[in-house]
């Protein structure tokens, strides 16, 4: 596989035309793949937030069988504010990809990935707890690490490190 950085969708499509994940997403919906990046030997594929679940399903069907991790990054005050990263591992290809969705800071919500992998449950609860991103269709969306009655979402960038006094 190439070592070079492929900075955008066109370069990735040209540089990695046979990559199973790229092929799977193109076959699912060529328009759905909004952006792509191959950097430091890691492939990031970006889809619209409303497409997360179908994209995950397409990847799962293409051999990316194991959900490994899911988290968010807050780019406050930039918009779209929250970048969600799903790290999906393929036991078959011995390779990992990152599925990315950018969610607006104004009432952030996406569909829950628990319908694809029930194991996404705790990870989404964590993102809900610490970032305040809601996951529609999650079976038990409630705080997991912070106390139930906590105010605010500590990993947001506008939340001070020492907490509110």
């Amino acid at each position: 596989m190439t070592e070079k950085t492929l900075a955008n969708r066109a370069e990735v499509l040209e540089g990695l035309p046979d990559h199973p994940a790229v092929k799977a997403l193109l076959a699912w919906n060529a328009e759905g793949l909004v952006d792509a990046r191959f950097d430091r030997k890691e492939l990031t594929l970006t889809v619209a937030p409303s497409d997360i679940v179908p994209a995950l399903q397409a990847l799962k069907a293409a051999g990316y069988n194991a959900f490994e991790d899911m988290t968010a990054v807050d780019w406050y005050p930039n918009e779209p504010r929250f970048h969600l990263s799903y790290h999906i591992l393929s036991h078959q290809y011995k390779e990992r990809i990152r599925l990315r969705a950018m969610v607006s800071g104004d009432d952030p919500a996406v569909e829950s990935a628990t319908v694809v992998w029930p194991g996404a449950n705790y990870y989404e609860r964590e993102v809900f707890d610490l970032f305040g991103v809601r996951f529609e269709g999650h079976p038990n969306l409630r705080r997991i690490l912070m106390p139930e009655d906590w105010t605010g979402h500590p990993l947001r960038k506008d939340y001070p490190v020492e907490g509110y006094r």
Partner: protein, 407 residues
């Protein structure tokens, strides 16, 4: 696929309608000795049969991920020790590999081999504690004393090399803190030589023990399908018949140069997990032995004066080194913008660090993926319909550390 019920909010609807006169809600923890820290379980039981189980976590939440955002890259290393406090060097390794990937830094061979050796010692340390406490939960008290005897040897090695027994912070971004002291490799050799006998000793105490066997066999059944669905990794996954180990399949830190087997079992129960981990300890011994035999010569720090602190001697005698030292300590070093996810095989399973840089000297975001967090999701599937006492055996068999779950 089974219908997973990860986390039914038990506290709100305590007992199922129609079962009010038979079912009881039982609170276990957070100070229960068999929950390995501060795990709280809320159980709905029908007599002694577990109907539902709901883990309540967060009692040990310290906001380490938030703290990381306020530290220089190097200052994060001591924080990582405290996450999975039974596997300090594995935490250090995973974080350092992630940042080195961001920096695209080449690490000298000797540092890589020493890292492998110490990470395997860490795995042994972690498995020894697991074995001791697991056996103790089941009622075999003696094994605990034996495994802690060997663990003490490992901690002495750690103390000698890092100055600390548990919170080692020995790995640095760009290599190791310093060359291990003279004679240490000989001590590791002496320890490793006796360890297979000691593992036989534990095995003699447990493997044929009818109580231990009956408490583990057929308990906590967990299929390969369940393991994938619930993001379970590591020995728990391999005991369900999935043959995947990051050390072999996606090697890092020159693991590809070592020969070892990946123990897999199709037993799917607590006993299979016991056997897989015991076998893993023997494999770790092999890896440490290979590292000692083939240890390359050379530096233990990368040649990157703007990132790696200079040796003390150089710092005191050379102007250039003094300037670099001053700059690194006071301002840190800038890391090119980007994001990486680095995963390694820790004692408990897949440990992953997701580090995002915005080009400054402090990480923009550090996310830690730890195996125990996912393993808790499996508890209900493993315990449902079993006796209450089996919950204790199952918690022992998934080998959790609450520090890594709550972070």
């Amino acid at each position: 696929m089974a219908d997973f019920d990860v986390g039914t909010p038990i506290l709100e609807a305590p007992v199922a309608e129609g079962a009010k006169d038979q079912h009881m809600v039982l609170n276990m923890g957070p100070q229960h000795p068999s929950t390995h820290g501060v795990l709280r379980l809320v159980l709905e039981v029908d007599g002694e049969i577990v109907v539902r189980l709901y883990p309540e976590i967060g009692y040990l939440h310290t906001g380490i991920e938030k703290t990381c955002e306020a530290k220089f890259y190097q200052q994060v290393v001591p924080l990582t020790d405290r996450v999975d406090y039974l596997g300090p060097m594995a935490n250090n390794l995973c974080y350092c590999l992630a940042v080195e990937k961001l920096l695209q830094l080449e690490i000298p061979d000797r540092a890589q081999w020493l890292r492998v050796m110490f990470t395997e010692l860490t795995r042994l340390n972690s498995h020894l504690i697991w074995l001791g406490t697991h056996a103790m939960d089941i009622g075999a008290l003696t094994v605990f004393l034996y495994t802690f005897r060997e663990r003490e040897d490992i901690l002495r090695i750690f103390e000698e090399v890092a100055g600390q027994r548990m919170m080692t912070s020995y790995f640095r971004i760009g290599g190791l803190a310093m060359e291990p002291p003279l004679g240490l490799l000989g001590k590791i050799q002496a320890f490793i030589k006796t360890l297979p006998e000691k593992i036989d000793e534990y095995s003699n105490l447990l493997t044929g023990n009818p109580i231990f066997r009956n408490r583990l066999m057929g308990v906590g059944m967990f299929s390969a399908e369940d393991a994938i669905a619930l993001a379970i990794t590591g020995p728990t996954m391999r005991a369900s018949g999935i043959d995947f180990d990051l050390r072999r399949d996606m090697p890092y830190s020159s693991y590809e140069k070592f020969e070892f087997n990946v123990p897999v079992s199709n037993g799917c129960d607590c006993w299979a997990r016991y056997e897989v981990r015991l076998q893993e300890m023997r494999e770790s011994v092999k890896i440490v032995q290979q590292a000692l035999d083939g240890m390359p010569e050379g530096p233990v720090k990368a040649d990157a004066p703007k990132i790696v602190l200079p040796d003390r001697e150089k710092m005191k005698t050379q102007m250039e080194a003094l300037i670099h030292h001053f700059k690194i300590v006071t301002e840190g070093f800038n890391v090119p913008a980007g994001e990486v996810y680095q995963a390694i095989e820790s004692g408990h399973g897949t440990m992953g660090y997701y580090v995002v840089s915005d080009g400054t000297a402090k990480p923009y975001r550090v996310h830690m993926r730890y195996p125990g967090f996912a393993s808790l999701q499996a508890l209900e599937t493993m315990c449902k319909g079993r006796m209450l006492a089996d919950v204790v055996a199952v918690i022992g068999s998934i080998d959790i550390v609450l520090g890594e779950i709550d972070r």
